[in-house]
């Protein structure tokens, strides 16, 4: 029985060992499972870390892109302001060119008037044609309504009228050349612009404009303007140019054509006299 008891006890001990073994196995098994779980968790965390790293690096990339874009914007802004400045410069230059163009155009138009007046004035040696051209220039180019041109006698005395428009010739023939406005202009050789008014009253001794006609500095006559056409409200730059032209060219044109006409007439007289003499001689 004892034996049995012992055997039973042995059996009990053996059973206890099995339990312990099983328990150890269980523990080891759980340890393995735990290890596996830890490894999986580790793997998962690694993956997460990798994901975060990737995300972080892309965030860094965005920052650099933003910085790059900002730099580009700054550069473009600078370029824009530079272009704006250049545009303003070019615009100002353009405005200058436009103003210059207008000036040149005006100058061209004035020169056209001067050229035509000068061309016509010297286009003939016929005294009456020269006078007619002078009338046309003063009437059509200057826009005078009441005007005259007279010669100043070498020995003094009243004006010798050549052209009289809008007033009496006899009246002008009484105008003294050594006093008043005309006297001042003859003495100084400088034009006189007393007053400009389209509705000006005509006073013989008080012409609005008096321009000397000069040859080599000597005044041989004067252009007198008493009144302008009603549509002529002011003197333009071209008018002063025309007065300057008249001062120099009208005098020579009048003088040359007068000499030519006189010489032609004298030649005709002499020729007639010679013809008469030769015919009488032949008859005798």
């Amino acid at each position: 029985m004892v034996h049995d008891k012992k055997g039973k006890e042995r059996d009990d001990v053996g059973e206890g060992k099995d339990d312990a073994r099983q328990e150890v196995v269980q523990i080891v098994k759980r340890g393995a499972e735990f290890t596996e779980e830890v490894l999986k968790e580790n793997e998962r965390l690694r993956y997460r870390v990798a994901q975060l790293e990737t995300a972080q690096s892309s965030v860094g990339k965005d920052d650099s892109l933003v910085a790059e874009l900002l730099a580009k914007i700054r550069r473009l802004e600078h370029e824009r302001s530079e272009i704006g400045r250049r545009f303003a410069e070019v615009e100002a230059e353009n405005q200058n060119f436009a103003n210059r163009y207008i000036e040149i155009e005006n100058e061209n138009n004035n020169l056209l008037n001067i050229y035509v007046a000068s061309y016509q004035l010297h286009s003939t040696l016929d005294f009456h044609e020269v006078l007619q051209i002078l009338i046309e220039i003063i009437l059509n180019f200057v826009g005078a309504e009441v005007f005259a041109i007279g010669l100043v006698p070498e020995g003094g005395g009243p004006l010798r009228p050549l052209i009289v428009e809008g007033m009496e010739r006899d009246e002008l023939a009484s105008l003294a050349t050594d006093s008043g406005v005309v006297g001042d202009v003859v003495a100084s050789g400088e034009p006189r612009f007393v007053e400009f008014s389209e509705s000006r009253e005509v006073k013989l001794r008080d012409p609005g404009i008096c321009v000397p006609l000069k040859i080599k500095g000597q005044v041989i006559g004067v252009v007198l303007i008493y009144r302008f056409l009603q549509q002529k409200t002011e003197l333009a730059a071209v008018d002063h140019e025309l007065f300057t032209l008249l001062a120099g060219h009208a005098a020579t044109a009048i003088f040359a054509s007068k000499l030519y006409t006189d010489s032609k007439r004298k030649l005709k007289t002499i020729q007639g006299f010679i013809d008469l003499m030769t015919s009488e001689g032949a008859a005798g």
Partner: protein, 124 residues
């Protein structure tokens, strides 16, 4: 080659030359000159013109008579007419426009006035 032709009627050679020189700036315009209204009518019968530019005070036939005759002419009745004159009174302007003139310019003239008027009437 000229695309348009203009007839300039003016008894003053000086004024006529100024108008012709001004119009020469329009390269598409061929310019013919006439001394007075009668001379202008002869030239209008001989050729077709696109624009007529005339003075008023002229010998033989004045500009206003010319305008009224041109407006009755079968070929040129619709031609644009520009008056260039020293007559600056409002009634002179109205009379010319009533007779059929399209534009009225008073002397003294500046080239751009004539050029711009012709360009406007010919739609250049």
């Amino acid at each position: 080659m000229s695309d348009f032709s203009a007839l300039v009627v003016e008894d003053s050679p000086t004024m006529r030359q100024l108008i012709v020189f001004a119009l020469r700036r329009l390269q598409t315009l061929k310019v013919t000159e006439a001394d007075d209204g009668v001379d202008a009518l002869k030239k209008l019968q001989a050729a077709k013109f696109d624009i007529l530019i005339t003075d008023i005070n002229m010998p033989i036939m004045d500009g206003l008579k010319l305008v009224s005759l041109v407006r009755k002419d079968e070929i040129h009745k619709d031609i644009p007419i520009v008056i260039i004159t020293t007559e600056g009174a409002q009634e002179d302007r109205q009379r010319a426009l009533a007779l059929g003139a399209n534009a009225y310019i008073t002397k003294p003239i500046q080239a751009p006035q004539v050029i711009n008027t012709v360009k406007e009437l010919l739609k250049l």
